[in-house]
Amino acid sequence: MSGVRVLVGTRKGAFVLASDGKRERWDVTGPHFGGWEIFHLKASPADPNRVYASQGTSWFGQLIQRSDDGGKTWEPVGNKFVYDGVPGTHLWYDGTPHPWEFARVWHLEPSPTDPDTVYAGVEDAALFRTTDGGQTWHELPGLRTHESASSWAPGAGGMCLHTILQDPSRSERLFVAISSAGTFRTDDAGKSWRPVNRGLRSEQIPNPTAEVGHCVHRIAMHPSRPGVLFMQKHWDVMRSDDAGESWQEVSGNLPSDFGFPIDVHAHEPDTIYVVPIKSDSEHYPPEGKLRLYRSRTGGHEWEALTNGLPQRDCYVNVLRDAMAVDALDPCGVYFGTTGGQVYASADGGDRWTPIVRDLPAVLSVEVQALP
């Protein structure tokens, strides 16, 4: 590997951070699309120079940008996201039916094998796909038309489909997570879906063990072991060893089981990372100390990672798409904060340094190991 490229989406533009394999010195370019919210940008595993970005504002709506040179130059591609057929309704905050309305693209997930194929998770929750490099987008309506969909309701951040996982061993299997409906799985490439939330417990909803209605914040998988999933829920860190059929809580000794991102070490499928955040109403690190927590046992037992991170007076948040790992050895770990810092560790989380300190609030972080 010759280097890494970190793709950062912020409230006011996109930034590209590049380094060699040592990950000590960084070149920062941007802002791209200055003034626009960049909810997410991600590169194609099949073509490292193909990068897609979700760009938007409340004023001018949704755009999708595409780069074919690793983020140096960009061109707008298709931005027409239209639900298939009559969209129907979901529940609104007051419990009344509310029409499905497209708001934005939260997450872009390129195919592992085809640079022109990308999935898009949108608000109001639905899954779209392009197979022509972003020129046109078509909904996979089987998810939104699931029999439970009329009972889905938005979380505080909107009813967003924010996580898309592709099983590398079964191309027809996908997982998605929706706030606040829960996790869903398809085994037929998106034609039909079913909720996979058994074992989740959410005391805040009328039926704490309901099939749908859980505020799942993020799910993660190691590609070598796609049947094992990890979840950061609104409260509770969870694990499934049977592709979502059942979940067990693995929060263990975390100082708070609330948080947003969760990710898996690139080479150790049982090493996972979370960022505990204090309760759902305060949204900052416990005790003002920014700590990642790492479990080397797939949950239950957690250690605080603090070396290089602020351990006093720190009140930033780390959002659900704002943590990533690279595939170098040792594995690099990266996360961005709502305070505009992007921290990097080139040794699996033992030591941290800020790559940049003063970006706009960070919405997403992705990383590529470059050939």
């Binding site: 001018f60 709506g61 755009l63 931005n79 027409k80 239209v82």
Partner: protein, 98 residues
């Protein structure tokens, strides 16, 4: 020739500096003007009005001859001074957010 002034973000998106000039066939209305604008700059589709409903986005306003014409019917004729090019048609990102 119709003159259109775009907000800064949309000028950048469309790779234009200053005013845009357009030829509009027939009656000059909001709809015919925006149709011509989007035909010439396809990247603007969806940014000023909704792809499907064709309704103006809530935080976008239209001005012409010092009048707010945002709520005028899309097929109503725009002022003659806009049709002749003496006055520009302004697409404005609304001031919002405090």
């Amino acid at each position: 020739m119709i003159r259109v002034v775009l907000p800064a973000h949309l000028r950048k998106l469309a790779h234009v500096d200053g005013e845009v000039t357009l030829d509009v066939e027939g009656l000059v209305t909001q709809r015919s003007l925006l149709d011509a604008l989007e035909a010439r700059y396809p990247m603007l589709r969806g940014t000023i009005r909704d792809h499907v409903s064709q309704q103006r986005r809530p935080f976008v306003r239209f001005f012409a001859c010092e009048q707010d014409v945002s709520h005028d019917a899309p097929d109503a004729p725009l002022p003659a001074a806009v049709a002749t090019g003496d006055e520009p048609f302004l697409v404005v990102g609304a001031m919002a957010g405090g």
